[in-house]
């Protein structure tokens, strides 16, 4: 198999890699914020349940969660295993990343001084207005470097979709490697990931720079 054929074959999987990547971000970034708010809830039951769930998700491998989400319903209650593996893959990835994002957000929210809330309160902002207009923009700026870290990890983690036989780029690379007895597909995969992450770095860098107008 020529290098070009290899690259073309693996590029076909790249669209699926991108699907995992973007869908996971679209769902997990807001979901993480919801989880943070539940975690910070004044209701002790809600906050401790959320804390326990976060701890389980962060304390177990993503690969295990992928298997649990994909095959768990079948083994537990006999539900049909999804033919389109993108669904369980994105669900598992979104839940996993939401847990990490939630902890990052929480750290960011906790780092905002009480004075910001008080100033907004005295100026008449409602709780929602305070959160959306005053706190959140500052939190986003503060957590952005940590978010970038997670996003870069996510690019590489997409290869875990292989666990449930979702034909993304790395899975195809593995298959080619196996059938051609060649290491080259892994090299190609490495280049793909590197370029992907270089793009991520570039975009996140732009956003960070854009938010850099204040300290």
């Amino acid at each position: 198999m020529s290098l070009l054929t290899m690259i073309i074959k693996m590029s076909e999987g790249l669209s699926r890699t991108c699907a995992i990547f973007f869908l996971t971000l679209i769902f997990s970034l807001p979901l993480g914020m919801v989880v943070t708010l539940l975690r910070r809830s004044k209701n002790k039951i809600i906050s401790s349940i959320t804390r326990a769930v976060i701890s389980v998700i962060r304390g177990t491998p993503l690969m295990l969660q992928l298997l649990a989400i994909t095959y768990g319903p079948y083994y537990l209650v006999g539900l049909t295993v999804s033919r389109n593996k993108l669904v369980p893959v994105v669900v598992a990835f979104s839940i996993n990343y939401a847990a990490y994002f939630a902890e990052i957000y929480r750290g960011g929210i906790d780092s905002i001084s009480k004075g910001q809330y008080e100033a907004a309160d005295v100026l008449g902002y409602t709780k929602t207005q305070t959160f959306l207009r005053i706190i959140l923009p500052q939190v986003i700026k503060r957590v952005l470097p940590s978010i970038t870290n997670e996003v870069v990890t996510l690019v590489k983690d997409t290869s875990l979709a292989f666990t449930v036989s979702y034909q993304e780029m790395f899975t195809i690379g593995k298959e080619i490697a196996n059938s051609q007895t060649s290491f080259t597909p892994f090299l190609v995969a490495g280049v793909f990931y590197f370029v992907f992450n270089a793009l991520v770095d570039f975009v996140m860098g732009k956003i960070e720079k854009k938010l850099n107008y204040y300290h």
């Binding site: 198999m1 491998p61 690969m63 295990l64 298997l67 649990a68 095959y71 768990g72 079948y74 083994y75 537990l76 539900l79 049909t80 295993v81 999804s82 033919r83 875990l160 292989f162 666990t163 449930v164 036989s165 034909q167 899975t171 593995k174 298959e175 490697a177 196996n178 059938s179 051609q180 007895t181 060649s182 290491f183 892994f186």
Partner: protein, 311 residues
């Protein structure tokens, strides 16, 4: 409870499997020149490494030679490390007691006892098994390994085949699928890196292209789970593995069609011809004294495929 165990098993299996799934498999049915070239290069590199490690290996080798000379000697002849895929029941797997077992493992243990070796096991990364063999991490690959011409071309010493394997299509009993023709448009699962996967890519290409989709799983258990869970309609799998699974799970059947066969053998390093023949000799002896059949009896599904018992 059973379900719970099944999940736990599925999870652990896949974890270790992912750790194992690496690169450059030797499962190359494709005898394109490129593949052979790669293999030859690997062998060259490996032999260079071997030179470096000469001093270490010299000891073992001399012991092996004396052993070969003694033939039936029973004193300690050094270590013999068996390279296995620990997830390939019934040939080599982790038994109920957590120890490695399986047909290959039991036979190899008996051979080691006969030849006076200290038996040891090395879990190979199946995709890199020959590289690991070259690197001296184990002394043979003996784990339901399919013999390919490319292995011999690359200079590995391969034993006489001891097992003939048949690939089968496993479906649900009530699926209404009775022949491979019924598989048109259906979802079929196959394990990555297995001979079944290779067959579908090469000799059975036309059949494969009639499928709705070919789903590649990284373990047999996942293939079976996909089938059980209804995500696929058939699993293309080694017959003994399928028979083994069907013994414990009801509601499945095999399509009675010959879709391809392969032979299992033991692979040794290129300079281990004598080791190979001493082990083949020991196997012959075991067949003669009935101890081989005694082990085989524990694996009734394998018996009719075992070359040594059907000569």
């Amino acid at each position: 409870m059973k379900k719970f165990i099944a999940i736990a098993l599925a999870l652990t299996t896949s974890l270790s499997l992912l750790a194992c799934q690496g690169n450059g498999s030797a499962a190359a049915v494709n005898d394109s020149t490129e593949a052979v070239e790669t293999k030859e290069e690997e062998t060259k590199e490996a032999s260079e490494e071997a030179v470096k490690e000469e001093s270490q290996e010299a000891e073992t080798e001399s012991k092996e030679e004396t052993e070969a000379a003694k033939e039936e000697g029973s004193e300690n002849a050094g270590k013999f490390i068996m390279g296995i895929d620990p997830e390939y029941p019934p040939f080599s797997y982790i038994g109920d007691d957590g120890e490695y077992t399986g047909f290959d493992v039991e036979v190899c243990k008996a051979v080691c006892e006969k030849l006076g070796y200290d038996f040891d096991v090395f879990e190979v990364n199946w995709d890199e098994k020959l590289i690991q063999l070259d690197a001296g991490e184990c002394d043979c690959i003996w784990s339901g390994m399919t013999i390919y011409d490319t292995m011999k071309e690359a200079g590995y010493v391969i034993s006489e085949p001891y097992f003939e394997n048949v690939q089968v299509m496993m479906v649900k009993e009530d699926s209404g699928i009775n022949s491979t023709k019924d598989l048109a448009g259906k979802y079929v699962a196959v394990q990555l890196g297995t001979s079944g996967a290779a067959l579908l890519e090469d000799e059975l290409k036309d059949l494969a292209s009639s499928f709705g989709d070919l789903v590649t799983c990284d373990s047999f258990l996942k293939c079976f789970t996909e089938l059980g869970g209804g995500a696929v309609d058939a699993v293309f799998v080694d017959k003994p593995v399928a028979v083994d699974y069907m013994a414990e799970h009801e509601g499945y059947k095999l399509l009675e069609e010959d879709l391809g066969s392969e032979q299992y053998g033991i692979a040794f390093r290129s300079d281990d011809k004598e080791l190979c023949s001493s082990i083949e000799g020991a196997l012959d002896e075991m067949v003669a004294d009935g101890s081989y059949a005694a082990i085989a009896d524990k694996y009734p599904d394998l018996v009719k495929n075992l070359v040594y018992l059907n000569k």
